[in-house]
């Protein structure tokens, strides 16, 4: 029984955990921009240093962080290998075989790319490790608030996200239960050709769909009877508040962005 409502959330208390979710979202965006603005090893090194310090402050075990990387390792390898072999640099190739050739620049470029993807993955998974999906939803709703001016249904979107988060664990459990019930009736989900396997899921999908509809119906009634009338006139109990922690993190983000831009201008590209 895995609790999806927590996603990857690692439930401890730390400086990073306590940051305002809006700030963490913005920080992630700024950080990604920095990674892509950084065009030399020095700048990328600074980005990496900032991230390492953040990981230390988050107190998320290093093993967890690497587990996130493991999921994309194949992607990283493929990109790196492709770049290694197909990057055409100036001067003589270091190694050549048919259309494949390795240039000095190719090696640099591959390493650079690996680093970029690594930083990207670690930083975004750090966000999910340190922020509950609920807080993320609140953060997104709050950041999108200005869009209300163009009649974008911010409140409805946030409510849909929060109900989905609330219902996913229940539905996951239910899927498991239905799957077991059908297994007990001899259903086989593991063998046979792909068509057969897809067909084998019908006895799970139909009950699951019906259950989701029934739940939606009941939840609708429960919301109605608690006076739900859409976003108008609605107040909100939880307000996100910036604190001194967020101020420090924001300054770090701003400094990083400035630093990376400066290095981009004055140090030039990797090659």
């Amino acid at each position: 029984m895995k609790d999806v409502s927590f996603g990857q959330y690692y439930p401890i208390d730390s400086y990073v955990h306590r940051l305002d979710p809006r700030l963490k979202l913005l920080f992630l965006i700024v950080y990604i921009v920095c990674i892509f603005l950084a065009n030399n090893f020095a700048a990328l090194g600074v980005c990496a240093a900032v991230l390492i310090v953040t990981v230390i402050f988050s107190r998320v075990p290093i093993g967890k962080v690497f587990r996130a990387v493991r999921g994309v390792i194949v992607l990283i390898m493929i990109t790196a290998v492709l770049n290694l072999f197909f990057y055409t640099g100036e001067g003589e190739p270091l190694w050549e075989w048919g259309i494949l050739a390795i240039y000095r620049e190719g090696i640099f470029f591959s390493v650079f790319l690996i680093l970029r993807i690594l930083l990207l993955v670690v930083c975004s998974s750090l966000l999910t490790y340190t922020t509950t999906p609920v807080a993320l939803t609140d953060g997104i709703e709050s950041l999108l608030t200005p869009l209300k001016w163009i009649k974008f249904p911010v409140h409805e979107l946030a409510l849909i996200m929060s109900i989905a988060l609330r219902m996913i664990p229940a539905l996951t459990e239910e899927t498991e239960r239905i799957k077991n019930a059908q297994k007990a009736r001899g259903a086989d989900f593991e063998s046979g050709n792909p068509v057969k396997r897809i067909k084998a899921f019908i006895p799970i999908l139909i009950p699951l769909l019906l259950s989701a509809l029934r739940r939606a119906d009941e939840l609708g009634d429960a919301m109605d009877s608690r006076c739900y009338m859409g976003g108008k006139k609605r107040t909100k109990y939880k307000k996100l508040r910036f604190s001194w922690r967020d101020l420090i993190a924001a300054s770090v983000g701003a400094a990083l962005l400035a630093g990376v831009i400066v290095m981009r201008i004055f140090l030039g590209g990797i090659l």
């Binding site: 029984m1 895995k2 609790d3 690692y10 439930p11 239910e174 239960r177 239905i178 077991n180 019930a181 059908q182 297994k183 007990a184 009736r185 001899g186 259903a187 086989d188 019908i202 006895p203 139909i206 009950p207 019906l210 259950s211």
Partner: protein, 302 residues
């Protein structure tokens, strides 16, 4: 089929911060032919235990990459001739002979007609190249529907979703017993039904018990249900079996049960109250039995 479990332990989410021990060194034997009850609060490990019995939860030693830990009592689980601790066990063959009805089984119905839904297990469990003929299937579905108290001609072509709650549940039970399992396990078979529906379900279980399914195991919260129906029962608490005896023996230990936060069935309450008034009634904690015992006392005294 005799069920023998020794030293079963199980932990959910073992590697996560939310790890929860569901079974803790459980040993329990259920004889062939019993109507066995499993009692306990939610989260006491009852459901986890019964899911072991048809291999929905596997013993560590029956899994591929198993390495035994030193100094640990090796868990044993045998159902009839099946050794569930063995990797090579044919779990599908096991499931054919150990039927399992989950809580609210009507929520697993999926087919367009009642007939197709009940026949689902029949087709799944057919051995390769030995699919039963159309007539044989119809015959099996028909008798399964009849024993659960539904009229084949009336419901077979209906959509299962058009039936009433109690009927749906009976169709779901028919869908499990259609392959004539020797052991039938039911997780709270009467939950959520109205009193009449509950009564009908228990009656139908007694119809099945014996010729159709030799052994029946029910998980229940309802003390009266256990007292009225079971030959023996086990009480689970915090992943352990804390009592295992006949209902009469279990319910005579009022202090122990109340320490576990469990109530007594009505007849046991009456017997205790009468004993406090100096009258001892010798009966099985079943309503009929109690009435008979009281009436014979009255006649004997008169």
């Amino acid at each position: 089929m005799r069920i023998v479990a020794e030293h079963l332990s199980y932990t959910y989410d073992a590697s996560s911060p939310f790890a929860a021990r569901a079974l803790d060194d459980v040993s329990l034997t259920i004889e062939e032919g019993e109507f066995f009850g499993i009692l306990g609060h939610t989260g006491s490990g009852k459901s986890t235990f019964v899911q072991h019995l048809n291999g929905l939860i596997r013993l560590p030693s029956s899994q591929k990459r198993y390495r035994p830990k030193k100094g640990q009592a090796l868990p044993v689980l045998r159902v009839g001739e099946f050794d569930l601790a063995d990797k090579k066990t044919d779990f599908k063959a096991l499931r054919k002979r150990v039927g399992m009805v989950f809580q609210y089984p009507e929520y697993q119905l999926f087919a367009e007609t009642v007939r197709d839904d009940v026949a689902f297990g029949l087709k799944n469990f057919a051995e390769k190249g030995k699919m039963p003929t159309e007539e044989a299937r119809t015959e099996a579905v028909k008798s399964a529907l009849e024993i659960v108290g539904l009229d084949y001609g009336e419901v077979a072509d209906q959509s299962p979703f058009d039936l009433s709650g109690g009927q749906k549940r009976r169709v779901a039970i028919a869908g499990v017993i259609v392959t004539r399992p020797e052991v039938l396990i039911l997780d709270e078979p009467a939950a959520g039904l109205d009193p009449l529906g509950k009564k009908e379900i228990m009656e139908l279980l007694h119809r099945i018990h014996g010729d159709w399914c030799k052994t029946i195991v029910i998980v229940s919260h309802d003390m009266d249900e256990i007292a009225e129906n079971c030959t023996r029962a086990a009480v689970f608490s915090e992943g352990k079996v804390v009592m295992c005896a006949t209902p009469k023996e279990i319910f005579s230990d009022e202090a122990r049960l109340s320490a576990l936060g469990l109530d007594l069935p009505l007849v046991a309450k009456l017997c205790h109250a009468l004993r406090a008034r100096g009258i001892s009634i010798d009966c099985d904690d079943k309503t009929e039995d109690f009435v008979r015992a009281v009436l014979s006392l009255k006649e004997g005294g008169a």
